[in-house]
Symmetry: C4
């Protein structure tokens, strides 16, 4: 039903899903490709400039967060601006999209991640010999057990999905900016255990090009658990709170 969707999302209205979901998936593909190209370019540029590990991490965290904000503004009212498997999943959970749209979005995001690595190969010289594919990889840090990676991914995904569902929609004008700030913090916090990735599509392209799949399934399990928890929690809070009349904070 449209009414519920608008109430939760405050975004697309009068949307004919049977007509538009291929088109919005195409927009998501464009959005994700440009977003990942910019994100990967930041990491490659830090490597090319020989910036040390900690400074690179801070640059990636904070530029990455601002990118997330910018792309929700740019594509938020075209495709939704999810560019993340877990955020797409949670929108299905709360009944905003059908399973078919969700699957189209997942394909668009994974293909976007691959295309982004292809564009990186055009923009920067000799990606393989310079080790650019492996520098884009996310793998668990040395000495961190599987359960701790899953726990961290669960926590980060929970906060990211909850923020996306809550801020992006209720505080339309500033929500994406605040979501971006939060994503910066989440990437930073996760960096010393699981590698600080909360976007499965971001993992996929580099893993495919480097052909290294070490413990990638931990991220799929962790983020799935986290986004499921966020979906249930948001649903519960909404249900409990729906008798309160909110002012436009």
């Amino acid at each position: 039903d449209n009414t519920n969707e608008s109430a939760i999302s405050g975004r697309l209205i009068n949307h004919d899903y049977t007509t538009f979901h291929y088109r919005t998936a195409a927009a998501e593909l464009v959005c994700t490709t440009i977003y990942f190209t910019l994100y990967f370019s930041i990491i490659i540029t830090c490597k090319r400039l020989n910036i040390d590990g900690n400074s690179s991490l801070l640059i990636v965290c904070y530029s990455g967060g601002l990118l997330v904000a910018a792309f929700i503004y740019l594509f938020g009212n075209i495709s939704g601006g999810y560019f993340s498997v877990s955020v797409s999943f949670v929108t299905v959970m709360i009944g905003k999209h059908s399973i078919r749209t969700f699957l189209l979005y997942i394909v668009a995001q994974l293909v976007g991640s691959i295309l982004a690595v292809c564009i990186i190969c055009i923009l920067f010289p000799h990606p393989q010999s310079n080790g650019y594919y492996t520098s884009l990889l996310i793998i668990p840090n040395h000495g961190i057990g599987a359960s701790r990676v899953i726990a961290m991914e669960l926590f980060l995904s929970f906060v990211a999905c909850y923020a996306f569902l809550t801020i992006s929609n209720w505080h339309a004008s500033l929500g994406p900016l605040v979501t971006g700030f939060l994503v910066s913090t989440l990437i930073f916090i996760g960096s010393t255990t699981g590698g600080g990735c909360i976007n499965l599509a971001r993992l996929f392209g580099p893993a495919l090009f480097a052909n290294i799949w070490t413990k990638q399934y931990l991220y799929w399990i962790g983020t799935w658990l986290g986004s499921t928890a966020a979906g249930f929690f948001t649903g519960y809070v909404h249900q409990k709170m729906d008798t309160i009349k909110w002012t436009d904070v």
Copy 2:
């Protein structure tokens, strides 16, 4: 009376306090737990990355300020998004909440601080042997007298509470963001004397786990004096200024 509350807060309206204060306290508990987990994780991550003291301070200040902003946006219209004993106190002072709600909030914030340290123990390996509890502690810097700690806490609390009361409410959409920027500055300024803490709940959890209570009472005295002063000052300015018709700046 509701009218006065709305005029001051511009947030919750048609709120049945006798029904909702347990629920809003529960929301404050969730809010505070996630907030402190993220805040403590930033400090732990700086330690794990071997970032030097001054750089860590800047990261904690500015990420912490953005977190404050994000959480006022996320929970501001559910629980109020205080996650601070002194801010909760000042809302009672201006008649926004009853004493009973205030006490529930204090319990929620202190329990949230403890739960956050528990989650930290799950997310990061071997917290005790790695000295994570003590790195989260706030104690007065070496050679700083009690009176100077109280003076600094009084000043920081005054500015924080005054900003929370004024910006968050009058400039609804940008207020939390500006409050966050101000909190960053306050943490930085206080860092060389009292340790830069203006949130008693943030002190409580780490002190309990490390079982170190050195001069913690100075913070309780200083922030209480500061928030009381902010409450009186805000009340005085409001009373004097209420004959002016403000435009929506």
Copy 3:
């Protein structure tokens, strides 16, 4: 006339100036005192943490800019949130305030600057022996001639006053934030010639406590020329543009 004032300022309306200018000057005194205390505290904290000169400059620039933004939000609809002699001067030039209000504001700002140094003496130990007064001083850099200091101050003041007049009022909600970002850049740009100060009241307190008045008159001349130019330019642009109907950008 009120209409013109509202058109230009979009701030205070229905203001009885004969009644309120003492009160708004008192608010400006409080505003300026807290603002300078925070600003000076940032500089002192950088010194106490032994942060190197360039890093301190960046911290002061960017924290200072955010402080300016925060204080225009906090006090913008009480006293105007000028805390600067040149900005107060330009508001008189465009007919927003009377000469009498202007003089009260100047006194409030200079006294605020002195009070801020007094509070610094309470918050931090041994200010004189630690050289805090001199570290707050602004004097022209070694080898920079008087004419170049005046040229830089003229340019910085012109941009600052023009931004304050234009952004703060036309784009009410984001204006102060953007003004703050601009102030950060202006302080940085001016740092290697005149010292990067565009606020005469900020110069006054530290000069008085350190009792060093080297070439202070250059700043008074430069900023006065710059704010006069901004006043004329804004007036000219407004007059030329007043036949265009603006949308609310």
Copy 4:
């Protein structure tokens, strides 16, 4: 037609182009001159402070991005706040400006770039002997082929123009800020191949003063291709999407 223009731009309405385009070009000249003076001053100040290359790059990227945001706010509803040849070009492509206005704007921007270098000569001592002209130059990095420079410029221009067209107009209040954040990232990403310049006018002044024109034509080709692509893409997306009723996200 006015309606289409407003729909796309949401900025100037009731504009008599035959009367105003000289005036708006004059405003663009003032805007561009001040903008480039500030931008060039940041680079010169980094050099004067002996800040290392990578730190200077980060300062220029992020201060530059905030400057872009500030100047779109300041001049966006006077001249449009383009200060870029490629952005001006794309506004002609989508039918917002006539060719005559476009040519006036290009002249204004190139002259603005020259005037900015002149003002730099007044503000800072001995620009030639200190090597300020060459430090403002943008030339392709050593070992980077012409095709890769063009590819990078095409990509950066595409994203910049697309963002300018989309965010600045649809999300009026936050658009310029987000555009600024994006520009920061674009300058950073391009820094290791083409030099990270997406503004031809910014190239022109320093090249003229230093009288070095090495491979400048690559930037003209690359940004022209990128802005053309952005114009077509935006037009296509708009056309495809015009049957959807958007909410005000």
